[in-house]
């Protein structure tokens, strides 16, 4: 029973919970057991800490930085009591979730994957955290991430790498690698990540998950420790499109505490979810057709387009003439904002303090010791880009590119309802293979940053498996990116659901170096085409 629970989708668990077939406590315990046996935590006490990076075994995922076990069990018991008392509960009440450690949760540390915030207990809940609690979604703990969400592999965490459950020697992508791996490893059916330039979509692609960046402004940023404020957006990870839609429905909410929260009602992503592809125009972006992509990725993408056609969608060719400037523009705007956002980490009020004779020296020593190399690199790039004499050429120019890209999308959406592209140019790459080359790492984001700059909704869903070029015989997930106009997340979900139904991708990691799934892993898919 317990073992089987962790393979179920959130929607299935919610149905079983509502029907009284299983208790929230049983569901939570099953997932805590899965974490205890696969993640590399010290499963002891109220809050389980992750082992030190050096002590992690080669088969331990290290998705979690801390597991709030006692609090999760307490919440589950409370849900069971209230359900027994006849209280009407939310649709995902009792379903467990992993929270990226960039969102504050009262009573538990928030580290953002940085030594700078080690030991900081936020005095308040993020709006997302509040909404999850109000919906009785049970938070299991906080997940690993690239330091302050800067990175594409989760190798920039100060607390060690997170491994990809599909191949434990490979990265899960980033920056929300912990949240992705937790769901892929069946440690939680759902998780929350944040996406600034692809930090949900790219790890979703690399770990075979559905990952969604909702329209900018539909999910509150209050309590999301900022990397780049104009781009950051929290969103769901799940093993199915419907699960992701359920979770998005809970967290999308107007928030008067976030000035950039859109006042109009967010789209209902559940209502038309299963309406099918009929009449939808799928736009293929000429500039993101596969140049520079791994052959396997290009092949899976081509198959995806054929699938759309077969399913009755109209395929149209669209152009985003300025998409090529997206990456450089992104790598000026995001660091610029980060250089200012991260100024508050100075040793004065919270987190790390390295003592020194003067306030200025204390600030400098604290920041020198507290930040990792990638964060320092981006702070320096951003500081430079905002400096007088350079501002016009860098920040201002990048802002103009941003406007042009938004206009490109507007024009493209006149002839297409949903745009598609591969999510990432590659399948999951080996741990340590790109860390020495920041530019190679940044190129992971080439297909995801345009939607970030335009603020439009975008998701990644599994489109199939492909061989890693460096290791013949492997079969690793490939993601398909979908993008929709502002506040039309519903159309994107609808197309994704139809695609998913036809593909029947099995999200359970498989392969020679895959995380041992245990005896409960389904051996065959039960309908349609089998992806692997």
């Amino acid at each position: 029973m317990a073992a089987d629970l962790v393979t179920r989708s959130a929607t299935q668990l919610a149905a079983a919970l509502a029907a009284g077939e299983v208790s929230a406590r049983e569901v939570v315990d099953a997932h805590l057991d899965r974490i205890a046996t696969t993640d590399g935590v010290v499963a002891d006490g109220d809050v389980w800490a992750a082992k030190d990076a050096g002590a992690l075994g080669p088969d331990e995922v290290h998705a979690f930085l801390q597991v709030t076990a006692t609090a999760a069990r307490g919440h589950a018991d409370d849900i069971d009591r209230r359900r027994a008392a006849g209280e009407v509960l939310g649709p995902l009440a009792g379903v467990p979730l992993a929270l990226k450690d960039v969102l504050t949760m009262r009573g538990a540390p928030t580290t953002c994957g940085s030594k700078m915030l080690e030991g900081w207990i936020p005095p308040y809940d993020a709006t997302v955290t509040e909404l999850l609690r109000a919906a009785d979604v049970v938070v299991l703990g906080k997940t690993n991430m690239d330091e302050f969400a800067m990175g594409s592999s989760t190798e920039n965490s100060a607390y060690g790498d997170t491994r990809n459950p599909w191949d434990l020697d490979r990265v899960p992508g980033g920056s929300s690698g912990g949240s992705a791996s937790a769901v892929a490893a069946l440690q939680a059916p759902l998780s929350i990540g944040t996406d600034t330039g692809g930090s949900i979509r790219q790890p979703a692609a690399l770990t075979g998950l559905v990952g969604v960046k909702p329209t900018y402004g539909t999910v509150s940023r209050y309590g999301l420790v900022a990397f780049a404020s104009s781009l950051d957006q929290a969103g769901p990870f799940a093993r199915s499109v419907e699960d992701a839609a359920q979770l998005q429905s809970i967290i999308q909410h107007h928030d008067p505490r976030d000035s950039t929260s859109v006042p109009q009602a967010a789209p209902d992503v559940l209502a038309g979810l299963k309406d099918g592809l009929e009449g939808l125009r799928i736009g293929v972006i000429s500039e993101l057709r596969g140049e520079g992509y791994e052959p396997g990725v290009a092949r899976v993408y081509q198959e995806a387009l054929e699938r759309f056609e077969r399913l009755g969608a109209e395929i149209v060719e669209v152009s985003l003439p300025h998409a090529a400037y997206g990456l450089p523009a992104y790598y000026l705007i995001a660091p610029s904002e980060c250089s200012s956002n991260l100024a508050r980490f100075d040793g004065v009020r919270y987190g790390l303090r390295v003592d020194a004779p003067t306030a200025e020296e204390m600030n400098a020593a604290t920041r020198a010791q507290g930040f990792g190399p990638e964060v320092k690199r981006r702070i320096m790039i951003g500081t430079h880009a905002l400096s007088s004499g350079y501002f016009d050429a860098y920040y201002l120019q990048a802002s103009k590119v941003r406007t042009l890209i938004a206009r490109d999308f507007q024009a493209a959406f006149e002839s297409a309802d949903v745009l598609v592209s591969p999510t990432s140019p590659s399948v999951a790459f080996g741990l340590g293979t790109k860390t020495a080359d920041p530019i190679a790492m940044y190129l992971n984001d080439v297909a995801t940053v345009p939607a970030s700059l335009a603020g439009i909704p975008a998701l990644s869903l599994p489109a199939g498996l492909a061989e890693a070029p460096d290791q013949p015989g492997t079969a690793l997930p490939v993601g398909l990116q979908m993008m929709a106009p502002l506040l039309r997340d519903d159309v994107m979900y609808r197309a994704a659901w139809a695609f998913e139904q036809d593909l029947s991708f099995d999200p359970t990691p498989a392969g020679p170096r895959a995380l041992a799934a245990g005896s409960w892993r389904p051996t065959t898919a039960d309908n349609g085409e089998v992806a692997r």
Binding site: P123, S230, R344, R349
Partner: protein, 492 residues
């Protein structure tokens, strides 16, 4: 602009930057109280202490207040403006950037007319241009323990974030000021306007209005000289003294063949000098950029008119109205700057003569209050009381001397009793009942036959002695005019 010679051959050029702390209930970006004087770090929250993940939301009242003051200063409201981040590290600034306005402030292009009294006693109006009013946030306060009392060299520093995030409005003048009197007049008038609009209590002693002066000198006809910025000006008086000191210092340096450094200088009130605070070797690069946590502030014309409709009568208009009512300018200035207008208007509305009310308010009322150490508000005296007092003098019930005693009585009672009641209680009315007074007069005439004869013989001055007798008999409560009349009548 006419040239005003400051010293022989030298012209003084001053621009003022005035920070006004808005008297909103809550801070600029969060719901924390703005009350002055709470225990350290009690009016704080995740937003104003810059906790990771916390976000600012604009206080609508602060924008309304800023627009109102901007319009009072004849400025134009920008329909679309926004906030920038001014990046620099300082421990009492929780985020290490200040949210401020940069390229597009809420208000631009205003002016203030300052009236300066010339040596011959006439008034001269000087117009000082206002470049902009921009919204920003205040910082916390640092307390440096040990050594110099400044950040450098302190043993340790304590920070109180209660003030952090209180809305500030910076009013930036053009360098249009040519003498210390105009600078002082500008600051005084600005304070009066701030108070009239109610956007701040404008108390320099509590820092709710703060003024920095940019001072330079030049030989008449030359280009602008290098300026220094003077800080720590805690009163209108300090502003005047500091400007004169600094200008003389700069002239001395230049006349010695030296050059002026671009720097920030600290006014030392006790020594009466300015001292170097920090040298601006290069322009500090604040790396301004639009704050991505905030959206623009939109002020459509209807909204602007809605705010404009709330505009109270401003000090200049009040002074003009007083002057028309015959109140001398000196009294008018006192009435406005002393915030006595509500009492004045109430008394006049109750039928009192404007001139008389002005005399009382700026004379005896002010005098008695200052002796008692009371504010007008606390004294309980109302405009209606004042009107009643004036009426009692006018109808002869009270002499001026008695009226002052009655006023003291009303203040003593904290306004619980009005002038008539106080006069009655304390037996302070003049004896003006003709029958009663006639009887006393007849008796005085009967007992002073020699003096009466003297008067009848044509010595009119002798009547004074009889008046004195009547006064003595009535303990000073006889109406002198009536007494005189009756004496003449009885003597025949």
């Amino acid at each position: 602009m006419t040239v005003v010679e400051f010293r022989d051959g030298w012209e003084l050029v001053v621009g003022l930057e005035v920070h006004v702390e808005l008297a909103t209930n809550t801070k600029m970006w969060c719901g924390c109280s703005t009350v002055f004087g709470g225990d350290p770090n009690t009016n704080v929250c995740p937003v104003c202490t810059g906790q990771p993940g916390a976000l600012p939301v604009v206080n609508d009242q602060a924008v309304r207040d800023a627009a109102l003051l901007g319009m009072a200063l004849n400025g134009e409201v920008e329909e679309h403006c926004w906030f920038h981040r001014k990046n620099y590290f300082y421990p009492d600034m929780a985020k290490n950037y200040q949210i401020s306005q940069y390229d597009v402030p809420l208000i631009h292009d205003g002016y203030l007319d300052v009236e300066v009294e010339l040596e011959d006693g006439t008034l001269d109006t000087r117009r000082v241009g206002i470049e902009r009013l921009h919204m920003e946030e205040d910082t916390g306060k640092s307390l440096h323990v040990g050594d110099t009392g400044r950040l450098h060299g302190a043993d340790r520093s304590l920070i109180d974030y209660n003030r952090c995030g209180i809305p500030l409005l910076e009013v930036v003048s053009h360098p249009d000021i040519r003498d210390a009197e105009t600078a002082q007049g500008y600051l005084r008038e600005l304070q009066a306007i701030v108070r009239a609009t109610g956007v701040s209590d404008a108390r320099m002693d509590q820092g709710s209005i703060r003024c920095d002066a940019n001072v330079s000198v030049r030989r008449i006809g030359d280009d602008l000289g290098t300026r220094t910025e003077i800080k720590n000006l805690n009163s209108v008086r300090s502003l005047g003294r500091a400007i004169v000191y600094e200008a003389d210092r700069q002239i001395a340096v230049l006349e010695d063949g030296g050059t002026i450094r671009m720097e920030t200088r600290h006014w030392d009130e006790s020594k009466g000098v300015t001292e170097t605070l920090r040298v601006k070797e290069s322009v500090t690069d604040y790396r301004y950029f639009p704050d991505p946590d905030l959206v623009g502030v939109v002020s459509p014309p209807e909204w602007v008119e809605e705010i404009r409709a709330l505009m109270p009568e401003l000090p200049a208009a009040i002074r003009a109205r007083l002057s028309e009512a015959g109140v001398p300018m000196a009294q008018a200035i006192t009435l406005v700057s002393g915030e006595l207008m509500p009492w004045f208007d109430e008394a006049v509305a109750a039928g009192a003569d404007a001139q008389a009310v002005a005399n009382w308010l700026t004379g005896d009322v002010a005098g008695q209050l200052s002796t008692e150490g009371l504010t007008l508000e606390d004294s309980g005296l109302t405009g209606t009381h004042l009107a009643e007092l004036i009426a009692l003098v006018d109808d002869g019930t009270l002499s001026t001397k008695l009226a002052k005693e009655v006023l003291a009585g009303v203040i003593e009672e904290r306004g619980a009793k009005g002038p008539a009641a106080v006069a009655e209680d304390r037996g302070l009315q003049q004896v003006s009942d003709e029958g009663e007074l006639r009887a006393i007069v007849e008796q005085v005439v009967a007992t002073n036959a020699a003096t009466v004869e003297d008067i009848r013989a044509g010595n009119n001055k002798a009547i004074g002695a009889l008046v004195g007798q009547v006064m003595k008999a009535t303990k000073g409560q006889a109406d002198p005019r009536k007494t005189n009349e009756l004496l003449r009548e009885v003597i025949g």
